[in-house]
Subunit: 329 residues, 2 copies
DNA sequence: TTGTAGGCGTTATCAG
DNA sequence: CTGATAACGCCTACAA
């Protein structure tokens, strides 16, 4: 069934059918009715592909993530997909595995298929070379970057205010009487580095002498969390509280501390990040930074919508947060 | 840049360019070379949309899931996306939220956009009405159903052998000396019901009197797990081991049991299901049924590939599993 | 208000 | 082996 079949059966031309299909105003009421009847009778839906050939794009948006299996990313992808669908867009999922070359490959394919825009969940790309390559090659499609920052005319970013999150942690811990606070960075991403440098900066503002020595790095996840605890203890660095870059890493850390006979929160206070499901699956329940996932997702899609509508938009949006206090502090 | 521009620059006709683009054999070597040079020079990629207009489909596959935030589904979606991409297909993500009407809506849209096939992760649909509607409306696209069963000419299913999984649990627990084994069903899905009835059947085969009374139901997740423990105890039903339909539910159950001063595995043995990340984030580490997620995903895509290639395929594939024994039993 | 004709970028058919 | 030319299904001037 195509537009010609409908036109023939309704006794009108294809232009008229097209007008009805696209809710144009210049159609006489009874003509419209006549066409609509046929449309409904056959449950007709126009071919997106043929439409796309004219508009040079499909109603799709690419979602790039490093790995949808990471709960935090899945959460975001869910929100994005839901919001996009409300607007009539389908979401194309891409897992880059953290490899820039995969990302480039995906973006190339996405462009070829005529996506309306591309949303990056987190730091899919991390170096200037790729950034520039993006700028030069794909300037005709808007990119929304969540929690990361890239610079080009067609790039817009929605960021969680990491520094504010770190400040909340430090203030909360200070209130609880903690002086020796460590930070564990578990990702070399933009936001990971951001949090770490905020920690150093804010610690020093609060009078900590050599804050950089209170920063430890590890890999994200329970294993990384366990492993870094051993290294911290080995280092001889004193501590009564540890802030982790992600809940899972924090949980791994808690496990290891537990094995080493530390009591949480009596001997050590622990704060996680992202307010994931896991943070209430562990014992004790984890105090964590709410990353405003829902809000960032909704705003990202809204931003894309505005950009596509050609309206004036702000290029960088920053979103504040709160600390969710539970039993680990 | 389109095929005409390339043709002009290479000094050939668009037909020849098309032939080169599609690796047809009937092109003289030097002609091919000439065209390829221009192609590379401009980094040319043909429009998928225009291609789609001819082939009436795009290189996309719809992935329908209830909720990508469920770790088990995210895991599956990741595998599917990866395998599909290897084959040159983009994955369109759809979260139905468990509502059949959403599912219908998504499928309608997907058809309109010309997907090559649709893969359902789990029981997205659950009643005969919708099943029939599917059959009638969308018979021109193959559906791959994972861990659920629907009947129509264009439906193929890849199933984890639930009954075998339950058998492994019962045998393992029997070996550990357990007689009073309960099963907690945490989903009214096809596979959920499947496991539950397998439990009853196998228990009775093993000489349990009123196995049905040893089946409890709750909602999936930690909260459901906690809640069902209270009901079990209230019921007065004796037990020394509990098998849960999902890890998260099992973890909730363990938490509650812990609060009630039960020792795991000394007083109660616990088995989860799906071998999720969470199963090694809890204390004690959870014994769980490996659901062969990876295998099922790979095979599902392979099956779709074969169907699309028009080859002979088996309509129902069943996959066996193993029990991962950890500290909770 | 309605209809006709051309174009969107490919692939496929059929001559040459 | 290569090149016209006609689809594919829709949208959009432009004409009536």
């Amino acid at each position: 069934m195509n537009i010609y079949d409908i036109a023939k059966e309704a006794g009108v031309s294809i232009s008229t059918v097209s007008r009805v299909l696209n809710n144009k105003t210049n159609v006489r009421a009874d003509t419209r009715k006549k066409v609509e009847l046929v449309l409904e009778k056959h449950n007709y839906a126009p071919s997106s592909i043929a439409r796309g050939l004219v508009s040079k794009s499909l109603d799709t948006v690419g979602i790039l993530t490093i790995d949808i299996r990471v709960p935090h990313y899945a959460e975001t992808a869910y929100i994005l997909e839901r919001e996009l669908y409300k607007l009539g867009y389908n979401a194309i999922l891409c897992n880059t595995g953290g490899k820039p070359e995969n990302g480039i490959d995906y973006i190339t394919t996405l462009m070829q298929t005529g996506v309306r825009g591309i949303i990056l969940i987190g730091s899919v790309f991390q170096n200037k070379y790729i950034e520039t390559s993006l700028i030069n090659s794909f300037s005709n499609v808007p990119f929304i970057v969540m929690n990361s920052q890239l610079h080009a005319d067609n790039i817009y970013s929605v960021m969680f205010n990491q520094e504010r999150g770190v400040a909340l942690c430090l203030d909360h811990l200070a209130e609880k009487g903690h002086r020796d606070i460590l930070y564990v960075q578990d990702a070399e991403t933009f936001s990971g580095a951001n949090k770490a440098s905020a920690f150093i900066k804010l610690s020093e503002e609060r009078g900590v002498a050599d804050a950089a020595s209170r920063l430890f790095k590890t890999s994200r996840g329970a294993v990384g969390g366990r492993e870094v605890i051993d290294r911290i203890i080995e280092s001889g660095q004193s501590f009564t509280a540890i802030v982790f870059g992600d809940d899972l890493t924090a949980i791994g850390g808690m496990q290891r501390l537990h094995e080493l006979r530390f009591k949480i929160p009596d001997n050590v206070a622990i704060i996680g990040w992202n307010n994931t499901k896991s943070s209430t699956l562990c014992v004790p329940y984890l105090t964590t930074v709410d990353n405003q996932n829902e809000m960032i997702g909704v705003i990202s899609v809204k931003l894309l919508e505005n950009v596509l509508a050609g309206g004036k938009v702000s290029r960088n949006i920053s979103i504040d947060s709160s600390l969710i206090v539970r039993d680990s502090t």
